[in-house]
């Protein structure tokens, strides 16, 4: 491909996307970064205050709580979501009647706006009026405080996130599997314990890039979880169940402390970037080696 790669040709291919990206994404991030070093309430002129915003955040116990909650969602996503999505994609490969309709239904939660996802699940998870506890109560089982308490909320939020992203991840896995030659697909048909080994050693390496893409997407998505928490508990009780983004949103728009909020947003972005890019680099390096 060398002789197709004149500098001019590369520029033509690369400039449109980079231009749009730089104007509407990179520049705003820099803009927000600048504001994160100011004290700004939305109206008066921003006043430069150095790293005071960052110091305030690091001393804020609610900020650390939100980081912890986000970490819980992160772990659950890695451990549950990705294997489950892959398994489902394998399942959907086989000749099941109405597979197309099934795939649509599994994908459906991904179509729903996150706000609606939260809205649906609050009617299932609310300890008092939710479907789940009503059923458990009828069966005489204990009714835990799925949301609104001090411990279980992040796990419930993780579960809603998994539910909403499952179809999305599965779709990408499925498309990736479709690109494989038929012999490999036959090998993927699980047929007892042997089949699982075959899947692990044959199929997975061939769709390595797909795994990488999905993992990166899910990781960065975890750091952005926001509407789900907002609807389930509003971040409560008193910020006990906030995620990084929801707490930052609270600081920025509810408390109108924009400088502080932008500092939080910068931290979230940087964290997401570091984790995502770190994974990308490590995964690529292993591939080359």
């Amino acid at each position: 491909m060398t002789w197709l790669s004149s500098r001019w040709k590369i520029a033509v291919m690369v400039v449109p996307a980079l231009l749009l990206f730089s104007v509407f994404i990179a520049y705003p991030v820099v803009y927000s970064l600048v504001f994160s070093f100011t004290r700004f309430n939305g109206f008066e002129s921003p006043a430069f205050n150095g790293g005071a915003n960052y110091a305030t955040l690091f001393a804020d116990k609610f900020f650390w709580r939100s980081l912890g909650n986000t970490a819980i969602i992160f772990v659950v996503t890695l451990v549950v979501l990705i294997p489950l999505a892959f398994g489902l994609a394998l399942l959907m490969q086989r000749r099941i009647p109405a597979a197309g309709a099934l795939r649509s239904l599994v994908f459906a939660p991904a179509i729903i706006a996150p706000i609606l996802s939260g809205l649906i699940w609050i009617f299932i998870l609310d300890p008092h009026v939710g479907l789940l506890n009503r059923i458990l109560g009828q069966l005489g089982l204990p009714e835990p405080e799925w949301i609104g308490g001090n411990t279980l909320t992040p796990f419930s939020v993780s579960w809603v996130y998994v539910w909403s992203q499952l179809g999305f991840a599965m779709t990408i896995f499925y498309a990736g599997l479709q690109l494989l030659p038929a012999e490999v697909l036959e090998a993927s048909e699980i047929d007892g314990a042997n089949g699982i080994k075959r899947v692990w050693y044959v199929v997975v390496p061939m769709i390595r890039e797909t795994f990488i893409i999905i993992t990166v997407l899910m990781i960065t998505g975890v750091f952005k979880v926001f509407e789900i928490v907002l609807v389930l508990t509003g971040g409560g009780p008193v910020h006990a169940s906030e995620t990084l983004v929801s707490y930052t949103y609270f600081i920025t728009f509810s408390s109108q402390r924009y400088g502080l909020g932008m500092a939080g947003a910068v931290i979230v972005t940087v964290l997401g970037m570091i984790v995502g890019l770190a994974y990308l680099i490590v995964a690529r390096r292993r591939q080359v080696a």
Binding site: F43, G236, V238
Partner: protein, 443 residues
């Protein structure tokens, strides 16, 4: 961000008008042409005004504002008002963005604290000359006008009247042999009796409704808030003081006695109301705006309204009825540079302060901010009950609701502090320290 010159120019403009009004004298019916201060609108000139408010689909969700706008258009056939809106937090964002970039709508709802900022930057019309010219200033309580005046300009009119209090279900009380409470000790007794029977006394919730602690915000006025607020903002008075401590400890007492439901943290505003209207709670922490849904429910005949408890260890007059102006309508000074638009806006300001507008509010069970004689429809029995209790002789209203007198960050810290105690997340001391921290950071 704002050029000093621009601020001066707008300020000079309004001062000039005010001076002209004072010199020329106002006509008693307020039509204004004789004073020459506020431009009149030729009935043949068509003007369109944009009006952006804090509810989505205003026709459905703010029917009273919609009705008022329609009435206004009827009286002024040459003026068209484009009424739009979005959910409150989105709307607030929009107004902040618009304020910063000089793209404000002609007329809009805005949070008081944001309005003050905009006013300081000279972006809002001073409505005092308009009201004075039409002899309508006296129709607002003096505290209301004062509350919306800053930097020598009155920057808005109340979009509605915020009247908070506790609705109670007479039947539940009677069925359990309880009298309607008057003091806090009465309330505590009610809670204990009802809790023993498994009944939630006070319905409230903080899910995306952290501000829904109106009765406790009002209670701060019972513990000397009005005397303390200046010192709090200046840093000379601490939020963690003996008086407020008594209140927070009372809230804790209520929690320990079982006054609240066990899922307060996940309860949304609608659930707060529906818990009460479906008879599952004996009381609800709210205000007069709940009259309409209560009227529509089966407990309408049993509903009563209570301005709030009297505290034996409180400060000052205990008969506090929280009736204060809600967030203001404000008007863009940039739009008013066009004399036709300015004249049209002036007409709206007069209309909104007038009797016709007050009647449209009452027709929808909303209390007006002005002091006109209005006819309350017979069907609004719950509203009547509420009004009677809120404005009973002997009660007095404070200057404003406490959270509206401080910067937004402090206000949200106050909500967190109250719900923190209600939900058992904060001890009274921790709760007050949380607010003090916000006060310190707001310096």
């Amino acid at each position: 961000m704002t050029h000093p010159a621009r601020v001066m120019r707008v300020g000079a403009l309004t001062t000039a008008f005010a001076v002209l009004v004072a010199l020329a004298g106002c006509s008693s019916n307020g039509s204004g042409p004789s004073s020459g201060s506020i431009p009149t609108l030729d009935p043949k000139t068509k003007v369109t005004l944009t009006f952006d408010i804090q509810t989505a689909d205003p026709k459905t969700n703010s029917p009273q504002v919609y009705a008022a706008v329609k009435e206004f258009e009827k009286e002024n056939p040459n003026i068209t008002v484009k009424l739009t809106g979005e959910p409150t937090d989105t709307h607030t964002q929009k107004m902040q963005l618009a304020g910063q970039t000089d793209t404000l709508p002609d007329m809009f709802w805005i949070l008081d604290s944001d309005a003050r900022q905009l006013n300081k930057a000279g972006k809002l019309v001073n409505v005092k000359p308009i009201l004075d010219a039409a002899n309508l200033t006296s129709r607002y309580p003096a505290t209301t006008v004062k509350g919306f005046t800053d930097d020598g300009k009155t920057y808005g009119q109340p979009s509605s009247q915020l009247v908070t209090g506790i609705w109670f279900n007479k039947k539940i009380l009677a069925d359990n042999g309880l009298k309607v409470p008057v003091t806090f000790d009465d309330l505590l007794n009610v809670v204990k009796v009802l809790h023993a029977k498994g009944i939630t006394t006070i319905s409230n919730g903080s899910n995306q409704a952290s501000f829904a602690c109106w009765s406790f915000l009002r209670d701060l006025s019972n513990f000397g808030w009005d005397q303390k607020v200046k010192g709090l903002l200046a840093g000379t008075t601490k939020y963690n003081n003996p008086d407020f401590k008594k209140l927070y400890e009372h809230i804790d007492e209520l929690r320990k006695a079982g006054a609240f439901a066990d899922n307060v943290a996940t309860t949304t505003y609608d659930q707060i109301v529906s818990r009460f209207t479906s008879g599952q709670a004996a009381m609800v922490d709210g205000g007069l705006w709940m009259a309409a849904p209560i009227q529509a429910s089966s407990i309408a005949p049993d509903a009563g309204f209570w301005i709030g408890p009297e505290f034996s260890d409180g400060v000052g007059d205990q008969k506090v009825s929280m009736s204060v102006p809600a967030a203001p309508w404000a008007y863009s000074a940039k739009s008013a540079k066009d004399p036709n638009k300015y004249a049209a806006i002036a007409k709206w300001v007069e209309f909104w302060a007038g009797q016709a507008a007050a009647q449209t509010q009452v027709d929808g069970a909303l209390p007006p901010s002005t002091t006109w004689d209005v006819k309350i429809p017979e069907s609004q029995s719950v509203f009547k009950t509420g009004l009677a209790a809120a404005f009973a002789p002997g009660t007095h209203a404070p200057a404003n609701q406490p959270d509206l007198m401080v910067p937004t960050a402090v206000g949200t810290a106050m909500y967190d502090s109250i719900y923190g105690v209600i939900e058992g997340q904060f001890t009274p001391n921790e709760a007050m320290d949380h607010v003090q921290q916000a006060l310190d950071q707001a310096q």
